[in-house]
Amino acid sequence: MASKRLGNQTLKLSSPPSMISNASIVGPKEGEGPLAQFFDNILKDDYFGEESWEKAESKMLKEAVKNAIKASGRSNTNINFMFAGDLLNQIVSSSFAARELQIPFVGLYGACSTMAESICMGSMLIDGGFGEAVVCATSSHFSSAERQYRFPLEQGVQRPPFAQWTVTGAGATVLAEAGNGPFITCVTIGKVMDFGIKDANNMGAAMAPAAVDTITAHLNETGRSPEYYDLILTGDLGNIGKAITLDMMQKEGFDIKKVYNDCGSMIYDGAKQDTDAGGSGCGCSAVVLNGYIAKEMKKGNLNRVLLVATGALLSPTTSWQGESIPSIAHAVAIEKTVGEGT
C-alpha cells in the first residue's frame, strides 16, 4: 500500500511543498469587479497589445508565469517543470507560452479545473523528489472562449439567466520544496461525474455533482470536518452551481454553508456587471487563488483553504452531437502551517 494515500482519491504530501510565489493578471472587466484590489496586474485592453485574442491569452499566461518566477527570486533555469493548460483547442495558450519560456513543460487539460490539477501534479512531483521547484499556471480569455464554444461576439443574442461569463485572466503559482508556506498538504483527484445536463449554458448545474463528489471524498478520506477549513472554495460553479452544491452537500451529511464560497460568484458584481450567474473559465479559479487567496493567506486572514477547481469536459462537437456534459473537480488543501490538528 502506498503510504501517502489516505484513500481512493486523497493523497497526503509527506513533505508538503510550499507555495512560494503567485502572480495574477486580469482583463478590464475583472479589474472593475469586487476583487480588483487583489490582482497584481489589470489590463486596460483585453488584446494586451496583440493582434488576436488567442495571442493575448497566451501572452497573459506567459506574463503570469514570468511574474510568479520573478517574485520567487528564481530564474527560469532553476524552475524544473511547468504544468499548464487552458481551454483553447490543443491547449495552445499554454504550449505557445512554454515555447518562449523554455522550461520543461507538461501540458494538461482539465478544462476549468486546471489550476487545481496543475498544483496537484506539481506538488506530487516535488513530494516525490523529482524536482525542487515547479510553476503551475492556467489562463482563459472571454473572447477566445466565446468564439470557440459559442457565438461571435458581435452577434445580437440573449444569454439565458443561468449563463456564466468566462473570466479573462491568468494565474501562476510557484511551488518549491523549501519555503515558509503556505503549504500544499493534501490533494484529492476527482472522478468524472455526469448527471446528464446537456445545455452548455448551464455549466454550474453540470459541474456541481463533481464538486460535491470531490469535497465529500476529501472530507471522508482525511477525516476532516468542513470547519477545519476557513474557506472551501469551488472554482467556477457560479451562483446556481453554488446553491446546488450547498444543497447536495447537506444531503451528503456535511453542512458547509459557513465556510463555503465559489470563485465564480466572487469575481463579478452580478447586478452591476451584467454577468448573469457569475464567472467561469480556467482563469476564474486561477486569479482568485493567486490574487485573493494568496494575499489573504499572507495577511493571516485565511489559514486553511480547500480549493476545489471544477471543469466541464465538453467540446462544441460533443454538444452538437447531443452528448451530456461530463465534469471533474480536483481539490487542493492549502495551509499556512503544517502539522496542526489532523
Binding site: 461571435p152 461576439l153 452577434q155 443574442v157 439567466p161 448527471f195 455533482p209 444543497d247
Partner: protein, 148 residues
C-alpha cells in the same frame, strides 16, 4: 458520494434552483424594439414611395437600407447590445439577418479572407438560407401544381 440520480431526477431536482426566464420582460422588449425596427423600415418605405418609385423598387430599397443599417450597427459594436436587450425583437427582422452574417465575418477576419471571412461568414446564416430556400422551392412546386 452517496447521492445518485438519473438525469431526469437531477433535472427535476435543480429545477427550482434555476432562475426563472424573464419571459414577460423579454416579450415586451422584443415587441417594442422589433416594432421600432419595423417603424424605421416603414418610414424608409414611405419616403421612397413619395419619390414615385415602383412597388418592387420600394421593397428592394427598403430591404437594402435595413440590411445596411444592421451591418453598420454590428460594425460599430451596437447591435449585439440591442440583441442582448431585445432578443427575438432584433433577431427576426432583416437587420438581424445582416447581423448574423457580419458578426462572424468580423470575428474570423484573423484567420484570413479565405478560411476566415469567406468560410465562416455564413456559419449562422447558412442554415437559415438552406432551409429558407428549400421551403420556398417546395412552396413554389405546390403553387405550380395546385395554385392556378
Amino acid at each position: 458520494m452517496k447521492t445518485q440520480m438519473s438525469s431526469k431526477q437531477y433535472e427535476q431536482y435543480i429545477k427550482d434552483k434555476l432562475p426563472k426566464p424573464r419571459s414577460l420582460r423579454n416579450c415586451i422588449a422584443a415587441f417594442v424594439v422589433g416594432g421600432f425596427i419595423c417603424d424605421v423600415a416603414q418610414f424608409i418605405s414611405n419616403i421612397t414611395k413619395s419619390y414615385g418609385y415602383s412597388p418592387e423598387a420600394i421593397a428592394s430599397i427598403t430591404a437594402t437600407t435595413m440590411v445596411f443599417l444592421g451591418a453598420f450597427l454590428t460594425g460599430l459594436g451596437i447591435y449585439d447590445r440591442i440583441g442582448r436587450f431585445a432578443g427575438a425583437g432584433s433577431i427576426v427582422p432583416i437587420t438581424g439577418f445582416a447581423n448574423s452574417i457580419v458578426s462572424p465575418a468580423m470575428e474570423f477576419k484573423r484567420e484570413g479572407f479565405v478560411f476566415g471571412v469567406g468560410a465562416k461568414m455564413f456559419v449562422l446564416a447558412g442554415p437559415v438560407l438552406v432551409y429558407g430556400i428549400s421551403a420556398s422551392i417546395i412552396i413554389g412546386f405546390i403553387y405550380y401544381l395546385f395554385g392556378k
